[in-house]
Symmetry: C3
Subunit: 328 residues, 3 copies
């Protein structure tokens, strides 16, 4: 991915006192809102964040800003990632994990809750169990909201961090063959990442049991977007050519026929043996948590990128927080 | 409200290194502890907090101070407000929301818990489900405690923020006609606000169903305090003269006769239609959460002050934190 | 305890920019990992922390560092203590108390969870309900982990704070007679403190009901370590000679014979009457929470050190955090 010309680069972070920029005061609701140029811009900022964290740990770009981290359903990973992102930028966090127990919130509408939190904070991160909750909440807000996952809907920062991982691990996205494995039907991360990949010059290989193939609506979307892809039942057909292998979980509960589950499940578990057939520079990813889809014996392999993926996620979230607050 | 003479004003906040002042090391337990002069002093500080937040977001007045935010029962709104208040003053927060699950706390007395937290922190905010808990806890402490609501007892910061909202929205309190609507029998906020209003030159109109009129003990208190008030069943009798309309919820559960509930409930719901009969500068308030008492269609009306009310609450809590820590 | 020679002292804290020292990048898993010299070194740093907190409240030694405070089981006291310790050092905290509810964590292994948190943070504090969890987690980490209690296993920071309390209250540890009272069989704190005391020149008196005497394995350990100790059923036999009285709870549930419980329970409750027979400079300790073992009437006695003990705990945890991050 080419860097934008010098004049488009953001000012040096620690000096960035102006409040402006492409996403200033914007909500981050869906991957569908981004152009390729947007994504590249976000990654440029995320790379600066990585450099700064590696150099100094935290810095005061968002000193004076307060994040309301509002989680209607618990998600240790995502909540911690946003908390760390804000704290490493010198900002403060109001952690709100107890919504479901709160008598105050009982019966209170989501719009009222977020408008109250807007009075105390500068930006709201929302995790909710209902599809569309983030867009609904955003309609009522003057301050920016970042969608941290709303039910079966969107989880845009996850898709961005997945793509950023590829960019950081390989140095480019264009020209790659990216294989996604496992539950491609229900896997929200697979769908969102596929949408972002349409912006780039890549080939996609989908590998899944028949029952868990990519849904028809996504297939149509990809065809309309001219993303070259193919579908497979067997990883061996595409493993050798893959630059990225993105693994997701095949849940037993998805199957009505247990014989079918038993017959496929081992084909979708990554072991050291699997990796002997893969490229030496392949990047092995997983959105986590994993429950057996990747053997722990693989963790020491340099291609295992799933924990680095978590770290890249923090940089992407730092970038988005800085951007919506006009400090990038 | 006249500002105190110059010599009484607090020093400029960012320079305020001295630890002294009217509430230094004092507990904030009840509205009954305040004189009118106290309330005016708190509001002067709260106004300075508002100015500073609007100008710089956060500042380091309480840098080096730690707040233990101890909530025995969850209250997203109040806990978040105190957290934001402390963070915007540059202080740190120990969030304690899990008391009821903690095996450590099981069987531990409240005095022991707060004395432990006092070892780690500089000020304690306590929310408890039992009336009188704050006063009990305070007896054992060397460091200041702020009551954030104890059961059916007191919630002094709520009453102060209600009154501060009136002051900020209208510029004065003296001379106003203040109408309270809804459940005046059980509504803790109505009782506390009424007590504070006794210090000022105001008229109060109470509007409620017969069943939910102000309790006898409060009526006697108000008569003794010479607060001019009248009671009504119909909002129309007083709406046109009201400078402030403070709405509270009429809970179905309070009624034994459902026919009676059905006959009154709509009379206590504020709609755009209601507001056509109100003053153009009226201030519409609600302690939140609301569950239908004010139609969402009213939210865009400039008179709807209930979300600004939340923001004023943060400034009042910033003022109290700074004061009890001797930095105002 | 003699202070180490000047050349061994850590540099002055606010200037400490180097990242090195005895425990830099080390895990804190068990009291068994420490030598007497280690313990003395930790106490030297903890004393500096105490001085700094008393002087300035918080300071920026760990500015730029992030602590993941991971509690699988709730422990208000310990979690708050580590939070306060990190915040008073200018660092940030990711509070994680909801692990048991998190769908993300369901089925995720402890190694995966801690490796994820390691991506966001610089140091992990872990409280877990299973013995050995801390050592298991540490095996997978590149960044330091501090064990904050793992089931019936270790709780090394508790043992250190108990010993540090003795050091701070009396000025020395060598030469003292230390009496432990109550449940000596199951009491984890008693066992860990005993292990640390083996490094010093002290006499230990164990006072317990027959049923709750120190377990055989500990007795053998102490004999092998040449710690002079004796066992008693009656506090009166040793109270007058005790410099320290460390009280733990006798739980009713430990007894099968209720008559036996009834016959002993009052003998293990400390009252003002008990203290009339003790040294005027004795130090009365308890790990808290207490449930009746020490009468509240004793709290005002200057010998009652159990709340000061909590405060010393914060200093010890500040010292350990600074040390493992190379800033002490």
């Amino acid at each position: 991915m080419a860097k934008p010309p010098k004049s488009e680069l953001p000012s040096h972070l620690p000096l960035g006192e102006k409040s402006e920029g492409r996403f200033y005061r914007k909500h981050i609701l869906s991957v569908k809102q981004f152009t390729r140029s947007d994504v590249e811009y976000i990654f440029t900022i995320a790379e600066e964040m990585r450099t700064m964290v590696e150099r100094v740990g935290t810095f005061d770009l968002l000193k004076g800003k307060v994040l309301a981290n509002l989680f209607y359903e618990p998600s240790t990973r995502t909540a911690s990632s946003f908390t760390a992102a804000m704290e490493r930028l010198g900002g403060s966090v109001i952690p709100i994990n107890e919504v479901r127990y709160s008598s105050v919130s009982k019966g209170e509408s989501l719009p009222d809750t977020v408008r109250t939190l807007e009075c105390y904070s500068d930006v709201i991160v929302l995790r909710h169990n209902e599809t569309g909750a983030a867009a609904t909440a955003a309609k009522y807000l003057r301050k920016p909201l970042i969608n941290a996952g709303d039910g079966a809907g969107e989880h845009p920062t996850q898709a961005l961090l997945d793509l950023f991982t590829i960019k950081e691990e390989i140095g480019t996205i264009d020209g790659l063959t990216i294989t996604m494995l496992g539950d491609l039907k229900y896997g929200r991360t697979v769908h969102s990442l596929s949408r972002l990949l349409q912006m780039f010059n890549v080939k996609v290989r989908y590998v899944s049991p028949e029952l868990l193939r990519v849904p028809e609506h996504l297939r149509e979307e990809l065809l309309a977007g001219n993303l070259p892809f193919s579908e497979h039942a067997n990883l061996d057909e595409v493993l050798a050519e893959s630059d990225v292998l993105y693994v997701t979980r095949v849940q037993k509960e998805r199957f009505t026929d247990m014989a079918e589950y038993e017959s496929v499940k081992d084909a979708y578990v990554i072991t050291p043996e699997t990796l002997t057939k893969a490229k030496e520079q392949m990047v092995l990813m997983h959105p986590l948590p994993r429950v057996g889809e990747i053997s722990m014996d693989v963790d020491a392999d340099p291609r295992a990128a799933y924990f680095r993926q978590m770290e890249y996620g923090m940089y992407v979230r730092m970038a988005l927080l800085a951007m919506v607050l006009g400090k990038a």
